[in-house]
Assembly symmetry: none
Homo-oligomer: 220 residues x 4
DNA sequence: GATGAATGAGCCTTCATTCAT
DNA sequence: AATGAATGAAGGCTCATTCAT
């Protein structure tokens, strides 16, 4: 419960500020491309101060990655304790809400994945594999009657991850190409609605939430 | 097989080797994270030699990006001159074939997009926007009777790009998480088959190829 | 004695040390021929430290030039506020004293002039042109009855500058050829005495200081 | 007599072109500040070709220096074989003619002198010392009755060198400050006339040429 | 706890020099 | 004789990291 309590100490606040700035910059430039001084400057401290909190740039990177991924893992754990029906929609919505609240997270993850850096295995273990597994369970299990062949399910779940996370990861490009901010509340609402529709079509038998379904489309 | 034919001067070969090595490394580390010496070493030349062919690291990066994106633009142009029906499948297959032959391209593009680098606008202009437009035409036009609302089409096409390119961009992560090489011919064949199935479900009226359709699913 | 008074921060001292070393080396090798590492080594710091104080080698060069030329401009300004008679001698003596105290200055100026570098115009504006003008005023004005034709005066003043500054600029060569140090107090005293004699002959009506005149020559 | 005969071989011409370009550039940038490629480019050959004619940049520098200084030494030798009277004027005129024909020579010499390079001793031995000695002989000897004290003669001769060579060495600065080209025939003529007048005043007993004397001043 | 000063390793780039053609 | 291609050794400059204050 670190986020529930108020700022414990001034140094705790400084540490968070450093982590925030680092997240933002690592997400854009990667580990090698980000300068310690940039992070410190963005956090409003000197580069020397940063080394009081983190022993090295790499350790800071790891801390940023951990802090970002932990809540994702928690979301995955929370889902799945409930009823198996309609959980995929819940999972997606939970993820979207979290990603919208932490717009750098997707880019950070993608950056690390593409970089094939030293934390790739870690990333696969604590983020991607659990995500695929949970999604696989939700798709396979739950009495759903979708008609996807079993051997295509891994690719299906991977594609869902791509669509959900990709929207945030490629946000700069989408903004540039579409002329609107993919992270604005309005666009995020549209994107959420679209994804629900999207999953309805991929899993025709799967009706995540009655209200959401009736709101936007009456066909079928 | 365009590289077999010419084989002009020895310096031409060197230039291509440098471009190849640079593509590989830029795709993994981005512009800032890649060292010129690494590129030169990978190309089997000295760092000084590299500067005979390219005036700067940035210029080399640009050349790599251009060389990678030009064929994609050509693929987009070629499609669309034919019949409008079933063209989406053709486009996807063409793209997949090209991306499979140039496995670093997607990662290069994603890296640049995520980095929000100086070529983002260029990337949007010559890659992403044409891609979205062409796909939008193919989806909208062609007498198809899919029932997507118009305002969701941009997000739909974006999601298709995510699924097609994401497979290659996140290849290292997929390999690590799924325990198999996403770039192996076998997996690529599966991925192609999956994507065709996938589009059939997103556009139920759209029957790209009879054989592909009958192979795996008999519903509708 | 301006450097004895202040002695502010340690970094101020470092900056001055860098400027001193740079002046010495730039005066000998010019801008292009001097290595940043040499300057840093001579100043007792690392090359990186130098860049804390100056953004580039060129900026350091400019700073050295400015620091060296400012006092010369001040000397020129101070002279001329007094009586017009006998001022040329005062100017020369003031210049000689300053040049003797800053033995690298002449070489720095000559080096820049010969190099035809980017600061040549600056040098002409803040050093050479004022020098010529002030000397021209002193020679022309002041009721002197020398009989130089007007159109030879610019060349005359230029030649004076050559003789005054050239002694310091060509010091290495003079030392090598004459076997004595042109910067030693003794030789400097001789040179001053010679210059006074020299000007007496160029301007027979011009008796700068009675004492100086009587000290060394009773002939005529 | 290397300049009398026509171009012996094509390679001879190339060598001279390289020497010419090198002279020009060494005079402006010094040994360290000049790039071999620049010289080659200015000579219209490749850098590799340059190494056919000269084993290294330093050797080329030495050759340039030698080629430039040899005629000066010859001028010094030729003078002095004649009558001792009025020879100083002849020497000055000969020097001026040569320096005007080789405008880079003075700058080259000054550059080397200021740089305190490895050829300083050489320069002193074959250029400056003979020059001082010859001038000293001409001033002292020849039955002239000027009234300079003996211990000021070295400084006097040095000052003459400064005035004669300095005009060419500081040409860029003079051009910038005076707004006219010090190497133009017109200005060179003026400078020659000025120098004759100048020496007449430094050595009142010394009447180099009747015509020159009567042109501008009738005192004595 | 915080920082300004300092640094050594390393980065991008240039350069004198070599050599096969 | 001439050169284009190549390179190893700097050269200017940056950066992660340390430490006295």
């Amino acid at each position: 419960m670190p986020e529930a309590a108020v700022a414990t100490s001034p140094s705790e606040a400084t540490e968070q500020r450093i982590l925030d700035s680092a997240e933002l910059l690592f997400a854009r430039r990667g580990l090698r491309g980000t300068r310690v001084r940039e992070i410190a400057l963005a956090a409003g401290v000197s580069a020397g101060t940063l080394y009081i909190y983190f022993p090295s740039k790499t350790a800071l990177y790891q801390a940023v990655l951990d802090r970002g991924l932990r809540p994702v893992a928690e979301i995955l754990d929370e889902i799945g304790c409930g009823r198996p029906t309609a959980e995929l929609g819940t999972l997606i919505e939970g993820l979207l809400r979290h990603l919208a609240a932490h717009p750098w997270l997707s880019r950070l993850i993608y950056m690390e994945a593409i970089s094939e850096g030293p934390f790739l295995a870690h990333l696969a273990r604590i983020w991607f594999r659990p995500l695929l597994e949970r999604m696989g369970q939700l798709v396979k299990g739950g009495g759903r009657r979708h008609n996807w062949p079993d051997d295509e399910l891994p690719m299906l779940t991977a594609s869902i991850v791509q669509v959900v996370f990709g929207h945030f990861a490629l946000a700069p490009l989408l903004r540039e190409a579409q002329g609107r901010d993919p992270l604005s509340p309005e666009v995020l609402r549209e994107q959420t609605r679209f994804l629900i529709d999207y999953f309805d079509r991929l899993f025709p038998d799967h009706h995540p939430r009655q209200d959401a379904k009736e709101k936007d489309h009456e066909r079928t």
